[in-house]
């Protein structure tokens, strides 16, 4: 085909032989490919949406959701709207009447305990107040309601009871997030933080971060030489070493964790050996498990492959001639390593560190089994709120904060190292 054979349309745009604009024709030709690609992606996309995006959205919603008070006590919420909670006086008769009416309905639906339980998170005693009052309110036939209700339970005569109800009557609440950072909102709207001994969540967040950083550093210190060895040995030896690194992956996580208990406990293998050799006395046995030390040791072991593999994959691509070139140019082997080899491993260090850190920060089973009280992570607290205290809103708020921390670290990493520099393999 010569140049003059190319068809051009009115505006000078190129058209195909049958008069279609070239762009339209190209789009049609590519559509099949796109649909095919979409079909390949679709199963995973649906899976991720159902198992990941929707649960996270649900968690984020639960962490602020508070429809229960308005749902179960609709009249009371309406009546309380006009009450000035900062006046220091009890609400008027209309509010008490509404509360009695709401309690009667709630008792019938057996929802009075639910709202009591919800408000009990904010102020203890609310659960029993609503449970007992549900029964007694049913017996209050006619007004005036105020005195009868206070007679039924004297807590109704306290301003703070009503302040709590009013504070948590809106459909959305910052209360869970405040609780997650050990703060409460006083009825007058100001935010009050717990004293540092009682600030359990902040303490756990700080400990989780600190221990995750410690685990990341220990895996790096242990993993770097191993990865270097694997990357520089001949294929026969390096394959064997890779298998040894991967071996823990083929063993159950539970088995690996419990085997650390066997090794590290007071009457465990390591203490026995130390006593036998005479380094420590029999009553000076080291406490290495059910504390922070145990958690760091066990998690370092479990997360080590996640550091070694990215490091190895990066080191493998660094030609051995770099070090040779550096020494031939007059650099002593040690500075040559730091100035030439090490900088080229940074993408691997970054990838390994971020992987280990993110895995560590959300780890649950290992700290649960070997962490004791000083080695528990924030994830253990989340599990406690989901399984035991059933305060799902608080658990969701803690989870959301954890997610935010991970994202902040990820962005920091991107800003400092650059996510494009990360190499996983």
């Amino acid at each position: 085909m010569t140049a003059t054979d190319i068809h051009t349309g009115e505006a000078g745009a190129i058209v195909t032989a049958d008069g279609q604009p070239l762009k339209v024709s190209l789009a049609r030709a590519l559509r099949r490919q796109r649909l095919f690609a979409l079909a390949l992606v679709a199963p995973l996309f649906i899976f991720v949406a159902v198992s990941f995006i929707i649960p996270i959205a649900d968690m984020l919603f639960r962490s602020v959701e508070n429809g229960i008070v308005e749902e179960i006590l609709p009249e009371t919420v309406k009546a309380l709207a006009t009450w000035d909670e900062t006046s220091g006086e009890l609400p008027d008769e209309a509010v008490f009447a509404a509360m009695v009416a709401d309690l009667k309905v709630a008792k019938q639906n057996r929802t009075n305990t639910k709202v009591g339980q919800r408000l009990n998170y904010e102020r203890s005693g609310m659960s029993s107040l609503f449970r007992s009052s549900g029964r007694k309110a049913a017996r209050i036939k006619e007004g005036p309601y105020k005195d009868q209700l206070i007679k039924a339970d004297k807590d109704w005569g306290k301003v703070v009871t009503w302040q709590v109800i009013k504070q948590f009557s809106p459909g959305l609440t910052p209360g869970y997030y405040l609780a997650a950072v050990d703060a409460t909102q006083t009825p007058d709207g100001s935010i009050e933080f717990e004293t540092s001994e009682k600030a359990i969540h902040t303490k756990l967040f700080v400990r989780t971060m600190f221990m995750s950083v410690a685990i990341t550093l220990t895996t790096l210190l242990l993993g770097f030489p191993i990865a270097y060895l694997i990357a520089t040995q001949p294929a026969k030896i390096s394959n064997l070493l890779i298998i040894l690194v991967l071996l823990p992956f083929w063993t159950s996580l539970l088995v690996r964790t419990t085997s650390w208990i066997a090794l590290l406990q007071q009457k465990g293998v390591i203490n026995d050996i130390l006593v036998f050799v005479g380094i420590i006395s029999d009553d000076g046995r080291l406490a290495m498990i059910h504390n922070a030390t145990g958690a760091v040791i066990a998690m370092t072991h479990i997360l080590l492959p996640f550091m070694v593999l990215p490091l190895y994959s990066v080191m493998k691509t660094i030609p051995p001639t770099y070090m040779r070139a550096a020494t031939s140019l007059g650099a002593h082997p040690w500075p040559a390593f730091w100035k030439v080899y090490f900088p080229n491993t940074i993408p691997g260090i970054g990838a390994g560190a971020i992987l280990v850190f993110i895995l560590a920060i959300g780890y649950y089973i290992t700290p649960e089994l070997v962490g004791g009280t000083s080695g528990t992570f924030i994830s253990n607290r989340i599990a406690f709120h989901i399984l035991n205290s059933l305060n799902w809103g608080l658990a969701a708020a803690l989870g959301a904060i954890l997610l935010a921390i991970v994202l902040v670290f990820y962005l920091l990493y991107d800003r400092i190292v650059g996510i494009d520099n990360m190499k996983l393999g």
């Binding site: 001639t321 770099y322 040779r324 031939s328 140019l329 002593h332 082997p333 500075p335 040559a336 080229n344």
Partner: protein
């Protein structure tokens, strides 16, 4: 560069050097080699011939299993690589990707107690030398292959080493660039007066650049000679076949007379040849004749040796015509005929008469594979 080989003690000396990696086979067998100051010496050979191992031992990345290496009068065996002050250009350049070109060039200067201004000046001078003056701020990855090669050469020279080793430095470049770089490296060598040991498997590269070439095979230097000698006067069958194109005829030595010998070819013809490395009277020999030394038609009339040939194939190559003939029972006999010659009679299937001079035909050892 005449006379470089006659200036007293050699600059580099390999003395009975042997190298084995596995304790069973020798990669380098008893190497003795003197390299003069200012010489451009090329180690040429097929892969696995031991040439790179020799370079590695000189650079210090491998230790000789036996023997010693002397540099500038001092033994080198126990000097670690970073104290040898030998510049090295690697096959894949080995430029440090996390440093700019200027930082790469400054790297060898840092350990050498030099002021910042002097470092900068030397780096710029080295960059100018390889015509990359404005590229100091770039990363190696932002340069083309040829430019990276120049940076590698500049980096190996920036700290003024007396000896520079180059390990197939042009292997990754395309043909045109390779030829250009050959001249540039040669000019740098001539201008700086440094000693260069160059390793390659590309014979044209070796012929273009070297003062002397050491042809390696099987861990042994087969021949050590200037390029012209190597091509025109190969010492043995390996060199004759490895360097340039070579026509082979096989026969048996029937008599030796001074530096000449008479040979009866396997096909019955009797020819005379230069007596070089055959095993003696009654032994098999391989005759080697360069394609451009074979005459045809009238030109053949003045030659010492005449044989008949049948034209098999003509390949037109512009400046010359490659003609494949059947000669004395072998059908891989090639003659290069200049395009200017009258080509009458050069038709596939025709019988023609060819000839050559006795001094262009060398009776060599009989290789095992012939």
């Amino acid at each position: 560069m005449t006379g470089v080989q006659s200036t007293g003690d050699p600059f580099v000396r390999f003395q009975e050097v042997q190298k084995s990696y596995d304790g069973e086979t020798l990669v380098v067998k008893n190497l003795n080699l003197d390299i003069a100051n200012g010489e451009f010496l090329t180690m040429l050979g097929p892969s696995g011939s031991g040439k790179t191992t020799c370079l590695m031992m000189l650079a210090g990345f491998e230790t000789p299993t036996h023997g010693k290496i002397v540099l500038d009068g001092g033994p080198l065996n126990d000097v670690p690589p970073h104290k040898r002050a030998i510049g090295k250009v690697f096959q894949n350049y080995a430029l440090f990707p996390h440093m700019t070109v200027a930082e790469n060039l400054a790297f060898p200067l840092h350990g050498r107690k030099m002021g910042k201004a002097e470092v900068e000046e030397r780096v710029q001078r080295a960059l100018d030398m390889v015509q990359l003056g404005p590229f100091g701020g770039r990363r190696p990855m932002q340069l083309s292959g040829g430019q990276q090669q120049r940076v590698a050469v500049a980096r190996a020279l920036v700290f003024d080493p007396k000896l520079v080793l180059m390990d197939e430095p042009l292997g990754a470049l395309d043909k045109q660039l390779r030829e250009q770089m050959q001249f540039e490296i040669k000019h740098i060598h001539d201008n700086l007066g440094i000693t260069v040991v160059y390793v390659t498997h590309d014979q044209s590269e070796a012929l273009t650049m070297s003062n002397r070439i050491a042809v390696f095979n099987d861990g042994i230097i087969q021949q050590l000679a200037p390029p012209a000698d190597l091509y025109e006067r190969p010492d043995n069958a390996f060199v004759a076949q490895f360097i340039g194109e070579n026509n082979k005829l096989t026969g048996t030595v029937t008599g030796v007379d001074g530096d000449q010998c008479s040979v009866e070819l396997d096909s019955g013809e009797k020819v005379s040849a230069m007596s070089i490395s055959h095993a003696g009277v009654g032994q098999k020999t391989m005759l080697s004749i360069r394609p451009e030394r074979v005459m045809i038609a009238e030109e053949a009339a003045g030659c010492d040796v005449h044989v008949n040939a049948r034209v098999q194939e003509l390949i037109y190559l512009g400046d010359h015509i490659r003609t494949r003939l059947t000669v004395c029972g072998r059908d891989d006999f090639v003659v290069k005929i200049p395009n200017s010659t009258d080509r009458a009679g050069l038709v596939p299937g025709n019988e023609i008469s060819i000839g050559w001079r006795t001094r262009d035909c060398r009776a060599l050892d009989m290789p095992d594979n012939l």
